[in-house]
């Protein structure tokens, strides 16, 4: 469980996050949604410590991350896996070496154990046998899956995914969403996904936080968001004509 308490953040005097309070639940896929430029990524980066929050507290299972020094944070971060928007694979390493990297860096596992763990993680994301490929030889979807394999290599307690479906076709997006949901449920981890993809929201949104103008605007789940009456959420959810069409169909049925 990750608790965010009264977190604020400014850049060059311009406030982008306003006193955010939220709890990201364990064993659930927690989504942070909102339009571009509303502060979703800034909030996530504050939580993992890539940005320093100006005020407030971030607690990882009651452990106050904001008060920790560099060494203590490093220990917490070994419990965090993160999938970046562009996958952020180390381009000088093969797929297998990318997955092995955190294990070699932070564990005392033997070579054989590391190899077995890397093979398991790659198998888990349906990339068995692709060990020796370089990231440049992988498609966007494959890179994302390698990113997930690397993120879960250390058996993380917390998984962060920054726009995991950006740049992917709808079918591959569903594969990635399903993978994130399965991993979350299988390992009972706290997963936080930043997205503005409504397909993902409907597919995996167990617990949704809607950010608007840097403020916590709404929270709920994928069922309640459909019926939310808040105008900002309505304009977000029903931005596409496809979703508008679905809504009118539902309304007709209801009548």
């Amino acid at each position: 469980m990750i608790e965010v308490k009264q977190v604020s953040k400014s850049f060059n005097g311009q406030k982008v996050l306003f006193d955010i309070d939220h709890v990201f639940e364990e064993g659930e896929v927690n989504l942070i949604i909102g339009q571009s430029g509303q502060g979703k990524s800034v909030l996530a980066k504050c939580i993992v410590g890539l940005y320093e929050a100006d005020a407030g507290q971030i607690l990882f299972d009651k452990r106050n991350f904001t008060e920790m020094d560099r060494y203590e944070r490093s220990n917490i971060r070994q419990e965090i896996g993160m999938l970046f928007q562009g996958a952020a694979l180390f381009d000088s390493m093969t797929v297998e070496q990318n997955v092995m990297f955190p294990l070699q860096m932070f564990t005392n596992m033997t070579k054989a154990e590391i190899q077995a763990r890397a093979d398991f993680c790659l198998d888990r994301v349906n990339l068995a046998g692709r060990n020796k490929l370089m990231p440049s030889e992988c498609s966007g979807g494959m890179q994302k899956r390698v990113g997930i394999a690397r993120a879960i290599a250390m058996n993380p307690r917390y998984l962060f995914c920054d726009e995991p479906n950006s740049g992917l076709d709808p079918k591959t997006s569903i594969v990635i969403d399903k993978l994130i949901r399965d991993i979350t449920q299988e390992y009972k981890i706290t997963t936080v996904v930043i997205t503005h993809d409504m397909n993902s929201v409907m597919e995996i949104g167990d617990h949704i936080l809607f950010i608007h103008q840097g403020k916590k605007w709404w929270e709920g789940d994928r069922h309640s968001i459909i019926n939310a009456t808040n105008p900002e959420i309505e304009s977000f959810v029903y931005a596409s004509s496809f979703m508008k069409e679905i809504r009118s169909q539902l309304q007709k049925k209801a009548q």
Binding site: V48, G49, L50, R70, R73, S74, N75, I76, R77, Q78, I80, M82, F84, Q85, G86, A88, L89, F90, D91, F101, P102, Q104, M105, F106, M154, F160
Partner: protein, 235 residues
């Protein structure tokens, strides 16, 4: 930044592995350009000196002596370092800058890796270890180039040139040259790493950072050269 760079590496095995890779990348890969530059510059220094020697009062071995002293004191440590600032500096800044804009550095940080230490310390160590080797190599090739040019032009004999090379040789000049090289190597890698690590934006900004790294490293080398010469040769 440097206080974070000079901390204990997470894994020594990774540190040594990266240091050897960096020695190959920024050291051994620089051998061809250093060899080419040194040979031709040594040849030009010898020929220019020989062409300027009109006074019969100057002994014949002066050409060898001037080639030796200008090579050891200035040409090899400073000019080669300026060339390396271009080659190595741009390489370091663009490599680290690209890692920054593609979020690879963020990925390292999220894993709990001290990214500055992981990326920069092996590069600084490699530069401190291998730049002196490059400069000694450059000194030897420069004097060889001078000998070859004089021999081909029939301006002196091998015996007289070697006599000049050995005349008034001061071993402290080698210490001075290698001290300068160590300082220049440190400046090139740390300044370039700084520009790469703190780049913001996209590929255009990486290119800009790379150019700034080369310019700043070169200026730093010239200033450090002046200060070190004052401190080591004149005080």
């Amino acid at each position: 930044m440097l206080s974070v760079v000079f901390t204990r590496p997470n894994r020594w095995r990774f540190f040594w592995k990266h240091t050897f890779l960096e020695i190959d990348q920024i050291g051994i890969n620089s051998l061809p350009i250093v060899a080419l530059m040194s040979t031709f510059m040594g040849a030009v220094i010898a020929l220019q000196t020989a062409s300027s020697m009109e006074s019969p009062l100057l002994p014949d071995y002066t050409v060898g002596f001037i080639t030796q002293s200008s090579t050891i004191l200035e040409f090899s440590p400073t000019i080669i370092s300026l060339i390396l600032a271009g080659k190595v500096g741009s390489n370091v800044a663009s490599e680290i800058g690209t890692m920054r804009v593609t979020e690879q550095i963020d990925a390292l940080e999220i894993m709990g890796v001290n990214s500055l230490n992981f990326l920069v310390l092996p590069k600084i160590t490699a530069a401190l270890v291998f730049f002196p080797v490059l400069v000694v190599f450059s000194m030897a090739l420069s004097m060889f180039g001078g000998w070859l040019a004089l021999l081909v032009s029939d301006l002196t004999t091998t015996e007289i040139y070697i006599l000049g090379i050995r005349s008034f040789f001061n071993p402290f000049h080698i210490t001075y040259a290698l001290t300068k090289t160590l300082v220049f190597g440190f400046l090139i890698v740390s300044i370039s790493s700084f520009y790469g690590y703190y780049v913001k934006g996209g590929s255009l900004d990486v290119g800009r950072a790379s150019t700034q790294a080369v310019v700043s490293s070169s200026v730093a080398i010239l200033i450090a050269n002046f200060i070190l010469t004052q401190l080591m040769l004149l005080s």
